[in-house]
Amino acid sequence: MNQPVIAVENLRVSFGGTTAVDGVSFTLHAGRALALVGESGSGKSVTARSLLGLSGGRAAADALEICGQDARDLSDGQWRQIRGTRISMILQDALMALDPLRPVGREIGDALKAHGSAPASARRAQVIDALAAVRVPEPERRARQRSTELSGGMRQRALIAQALIGDPQVVIADEATTALDSQLTALVLSQLRDIKEQGRAVLMISHDLAQVAQLADDIAVMRQGKIVEFGPAIEVLGSPQHEYTKTLLQAVPSGVPRFSSLSPGSAVPQCPARPNTTSAALRVNSLSKSFGGHPAVQDVSFELPRGKTLGIVGESGSGKTTTARMVLGIERPDSGTVELLGQGFVPQRESARRELRRQMGAIYQNPLGSFDPRYSVSQLLTDALSQGRTKRSSQYRDEVARLLEQVELDPALGGRNPVELSGGQRQRLAIARALAAKPAVLILDEPVSALDVSVQATVLDLLDRIQLETGTSYLFISHDLSVIEHMSDAVAVMYQGRIVEQGPTEQIFGDPQQDYTKQLLSAMPRLR
């Protein structure tokens, strides 16, 4: 085999006294893609940044070769020679990774500026070529715009163009697909595949094995700063050796039947006795809403049977969230009605439906914003249990403990402020709060989108268990097809404010009728 473009042996990075990367070794060859997989804090990003000399901590290695050059004792000036030209990086969020105050063309051109004295006109031409190469339409115009003025897809392309303009041999994609909807994920993955096919090496960082499976030739699974499993993708995915790898694989929801556990040790009752009722918990009749003349939601109707889950899936901007907000009675629809348990809920007066509100709870993508920042965990729950009458917990101590137990949170967390909790714990707290009033319906708007796959698995298992125990109906909104597939009894596909197709999950995923649904499904990364 030819010379590797990256060879790392026994890389160690520490911050202060804590070791973030502890003896990592791997090699990467031209034209190949290596995936570093692990959950947040496993040291994968630090490892990747060490390859650019930007770990931010103290890095040491027995060997650190980049394109044949020993990079262990490079000065900052020497590192700058390497960055952008031999090795470059695509960061997670294009909105954050491109300076919102500068035109993207300038951002892309900066890489050239840093490395040579090409005249401004030549640089501009090169920038436009680079944008065109990643298939940005109207590259001249886009180059003059700022990242905030671009659409999501355009922004991602600009970000990739920025990484490629220096013609590097190695491209690091650091969580480049995380939190993107399926269309954008597909776009980025295909771009990365192009990069690989151009003969460059790709180092992909992700917490999601399903996405990695689309691209990686080799996979390194990281945990607590160490590589626990390393090998060709087929082997790692097909016959994982390490327990942790197995856990990660199990956590991927796509193709896993309903109520099958995604996480080890979680106890979803095996063969549940589910109520087979036809009565609707929630009935939505032709909701419409437009903002400033632009229709956001048009004529949306669906029914959520008691004890069941209806999944709503669609790209960002398809009207999912507006629909959810109208159902919750926060956004007033232009027309249409919502019935909750057979009673009119929208467009009733707020005072009229206040009693009924106890029957409907809501979970958001980022629960922190929905907590009063002054309240501790137990105060939040007490407030919910007492219907807002008190936040002093003495009288409700037992019920608070019961709720915490129900969502598998340590009762010792009761005195903490939600800011101190992890993302998964916060989401459990939000669920506990919503459950306090024993609602019939939960509206879940992207409840797991901000979570690592492994944490997502535990939260999804929790939701399953609660539904089985309490018979609560879920309106489950997500852009993630695999989560929807795993969680829903029935699915509604939204596109441009309309429901283009709805039906039982097996039917939608097995035999889609509409072109849009088919297109959506084709972009879905699958493991199984």
């Binding site: 009063d372 407030d383 919910a384 936040k391």
Partner: protein, 265 residues
């Protein structure tokens, strides 16, 4: 706010409160007692901070001056904040046209710089403590009011209140449990920042001879008297100046510890 910061802040506030309310505990002398024979004494054992042109003890005067200086600062800030809460809340909750109208009024208040506003008011009323308080209060009000307004508007649209609606809370419960306490918290931080600045502006007015009249030991008035003798008796202006700096800087530190940003001034 960390524990140490809390303790230090409380100690700082307690110290100045004690100084303002019971100055005689710290400086038992009479701040107005003159002794021409002892004029212009250098700081030393007999007179910690030296003496002024009439032989009054500068230390005693600085300590006793805390009451006037802090009172003006606090009263002006209270006035500004009170006005700001009324105007800011009204603007935030009003229909657009009224909101616009209130914003213009705030801008008009803002457009006349604070010291100019003070002088303007004094041009109509004549000098004195009252006009100084009104002037400083009025000129700080628009800054606070804008913060109150944006704070309430942000909170009104916040997920927190949405969540409360979804949980079935009534309007009164939302206002009482969430809106008011959360809107007030950053104000508290800002108030501490503001008191420091108000003390400085009030001192500036006294310095120009338009605030507290002598011989009352107000810091700005002491500085004003001291600057005449800067060449001869630096201590006459150093110590009241330091007192202002310490109070203003301390207030800023506490304000920052409470999460206040200078931004909103």
């Amino acid at each position: 706010m960390s524990r140490t910061a809390k303790i230090l802040s409380l100690a700082f506030i307690a110290f100045w409160l004690l100084t303002a309310l019971a100055p005689s505990l710290i400086a038992p002398g009479d701040p107005l007692a003159i002794n021409p024979a002892q004029a212009f004494q250098k700081p030393g054992l007999g007179h910690l901070f030296g003496t002024d042109e009439s032989g009054r003890d500068v230390y005693t005067r600085v300590v006793h001056g805390a009451r006037d200086s802090l009172f003006i600062g606090i009263a002006a800030t209270a006035l500004g904040m009170g006005l700001a809460i009324v105007l800011g809340t009204a603007a935030a909750l009003s229909p657009r046209w009224l909101d616009e109208a209130i914003l213009r009024v705030l801008e008009a208040l803002y457009a006349v710089p604070s010291l100019l506003m003070a002088l303007l008011i004094i041009a109509f009323t004549g000098p004195g403590v009252g006009p100084a308080i009104v002037a400083v209060g009025l000129s700080t009000a628009p800054g606070y009011a804008r913060l109150v307004r944006s704070q309430i508007r942000t909170l009104r649209r916040s997920e927190m209140l949405e969540a409360a609606t979804v949980l079935g809370r009534g309007p009164w419960a939302k206002v009482r449990n969430h809106l008011v306490p959360n809107a007030l918290k950053p104000l508290l931080a800002l108030v501490t920042l503001g008191i420091g600045q108000a003390v400085i502006w009030a001192a500036a007015l006294s310095f120009l001879g338009l605030g507290t009249p002598p011989p009352a030991p107000e810091w700005g008035a002491m500085l004003s008297a001291g600057r005449t003798y800067l060449h001869l008796a630096w201590w006459m202006s150093l110590f009241p100046g330091l007192a202002i700096v310490v109070v203003a800087a301390g207030a800023t530190l506490i304000g920052r510890a409470l999460g206040g940003k200078v931004k909103a001034l």
